[in-house]
């Protein structure tokens, strides 16, 4: 095999420019794919991180049916005290869960005594909310970065629309599940930015204030946001949680709880999916580039060397050795391209990290792209390219090995 390698490599060197061109094509393809995977992966992670860490959490649990009518924030579909107890027990049983945050959500009227508007109020336990979505505090653009009793964090949209400043007095009026209307006065503690872009109407109060407005004697929860310790184990955590909760059935025999990961909660999942689809397309393009350029160069190599093939066949070289000779040429082109492509990818990714490319997402600005080459991606891309290189050489090599020596020798 080593002896065939020597001949194959020398034949590549013999047509240096052509081999160089082909390897360069392969290298550029590998470079492009690896950098794309690294950059898009970084973008995706930042995006997912932003959504899950500043608003959604990784997993949310609702009462079954809540998600279907989430637009009206139905108080009738809250989890009652008994259900909350069961949910908390289940959560505590799963060590991979880092934190969870129960939320009461309701729609209400918001007034600064001059004008009014509607608002979505989230009643949360401040510490639990912060532990579950660690970027929460970074969304507070004005005022103190806390949620105190008697204070409200109002969305930027309402603050500008109603010209409200920090420490202004406002009132929240809401209807509870029994139909009685109640109001409570708050001091504006801060202004909070929306994650998904303008239009967010989410305000935050302490959960006990929420209970007071809704006149709840016993706590009822609209949703629980859950944070896992290791994001890559998200699905398994969801499955365990689901398994533990699925024992709880309602009167109709359906499960009480509805457990969803962020993917089922945010339209941004589709963007993440689209990035994945694009990656697949780019990989297919790479395969096509490798296949076409190497097949092309190998067809030329076989055609140019017909007499040589005739000679070595005549003096007794077995067909499989002739086949190997040309396969090794294809392989060498691919391997060279892969090595060079990987090196270039390392350099480009390194430079991208140095120059710190920034981008904006939603209302957040100044995300720094931190592309990262993963060993798995490198191995996968390299292996695919090398295998495709050999496959690309297969047809021409097979043709060479099948040549009749008499005819090949007669070839001019």
């Amino acid at each position: 095999m080593i002896k065939l390698f020597k001949i194959a490599i020398r034949n590549l060197i013999r047509y240096k420019r052509r081999a160089l061109l082909t390897s360069t094509m392969v290298a550029i393809g590998v470079l492009f794919v690896l950098v794309f995977i690294a950059a898009s992966g970084s973008f995706k992670n930042l995006m997912i991180g932003e959504i899950t860490d500043s608003m959604l959490g990784h997993i949310q649990v609702h009462k079954r049916g809540y998600m279907a009518s989430i637009d009206s924030l139905p108080l009738t579909l809250n989890l009652n005290a008994k259900a909350i107890k069961k949910l908390e027990i289940a959560i505590k049983e799963i060590p991979e869960i880092e934190a969870y945050s129960p939320r009461i959500k309701f729609g209400g009227m918001f007034s600064n005594f001059v004008e009014s508007s509607n608002i979505k109020v989230n009643g949360v336990y401040p510490e639990k909310e912060i532990a579950s979505i660690p970027l929460f505090l970074s969304r507070i653009s004005k005022g103190e970065r806390v949620i105190k009793k008697g204070e409200i964090l109002i969305p930027e949209l309402l603050a500008t629309g109603l010209k409200i400043k920090v420490r202004d007095a406002v009132v929240i009026i809401a209807t509870n599940r029994d139909g009685s209307v109640n109001g409570k006065q708050f001091k504006v503690g801060g202004i909070i930015k929306s994650v998904t872009g303008p239009g967010g109407r989410d305000g935050y109060v302490h959960i006990e204030d929420a209970m007071e407005i809704l006149r709840m004697d016993k706590l009822e929860i609209s949703e629980v946001a859950v944070r896992v310790k290791d994001f890559s184990k998200l699905d398994s955590v969801k499955t365990s949680l689901n398994r533990m909760l699925s024992k709880n059935l309602n009167k109709q025999g359906k499960p009480v709880f509805d457990v969803r990961t962020w993917e089922k909660l945010s339209p941004f999942y589709n963007i993440a999916r689209m990035i994945d689809v694009m990656t697949i397309f780019i990989k297919i393009m790479l395969i096509a580039i490798v296949l076409i350029s190497i097949t092309n160069v190998m067809i030329m190599a076989v055609y140019e060397r017909i007499r040589e093939i005739g000679t070595i066949a005549a003096i007794g070289t077995m067909p499989e050795k002739i086949l190997s000779l040309f396969l090794i040429e294809g392989l060498s082109l691919g391997v060279t391209g892969v090595i060079v492509g990987n090196l270039l990818a390392f350099i480009v990714v390194f430079l991208m990290n140095i120059i710190e490319i920034t981008f904006n997402f939603g209302r957040q600005t100044g995300f720094i792209l931190a592309p990262e080459l993963k060993a798995g991606d490198i191995l996968f891309v390299s292996a695919v390219v090398i295998i495709v290189s050999v496959l690309a050489a297969l047809q021409p090599a097979f043709k060479a090995s099948k040549m009749e020596p008499v005819e090949a020798l007669r070839h001019v």
Partner: protein, 234 residues
Amino acid sequence: MSLIIAKNLSKTYHSGEIEVHALKSLSFEIKPGSFISFIGPSGSGKTTLLNLIGCLDKPTSGSLKVANVLTSDLTRREAAAFRGENLGFIFQDFNLIPVLTVFENVEYPLLIVQNVPARKRRERVISLLDKVGMKDQMNKFPDQISGGQKQRVAVARALVSNPRLVLADEPTANLDSKTAFMVIDIMKKMRDEFGVTFLFSTHDPKIVGEVETLFTLEDGMLSSRLDGEGGNND
């Protein structure tokens, strides 16, 4: 015991509608150690005959035995193995492998075809290059040496694997007459030294003085056989 036994050997080519009877029922025998030439004008069937004897092609009818093997019955793979084992080839255009040095070209049959261990290989290659007078050029590439030198390297390559028979189709056609005689001379010396049978074709009547047995081919038929000095045929 004859090395080659041809009986009623015929070869017909079909090119479209036309049938070309390149060889018409040839029968002959050749003893081991002979130095033989087939002479005849272009188109008389020399290449066709050498291709048959060299197991590169199959007769349309008749039988051919080379080294006791009925080569007309061999499969493609068996024929390749047979060639690598028993035959050496010298070509009109030298056909050295351009990416290999003189040494590596001669080494090729031992390395790729026969798998001889490195030390033995080196000894054998160098001794043969020495015999054909090309030892001092062994690290050159084919494009760095002359035509006559290339053909001497080709002679060494044909002999390196210790074949029973060396076939050379017009080995001197691309050489000037002085070089041609030198190459024929070397081939003859090799025959004397190794007892290998040499069988070559030529259309050049000038060289025939050098051979021992001369077959004349004309229009696909053997028209005469001349056994000269040293020839051990009856």
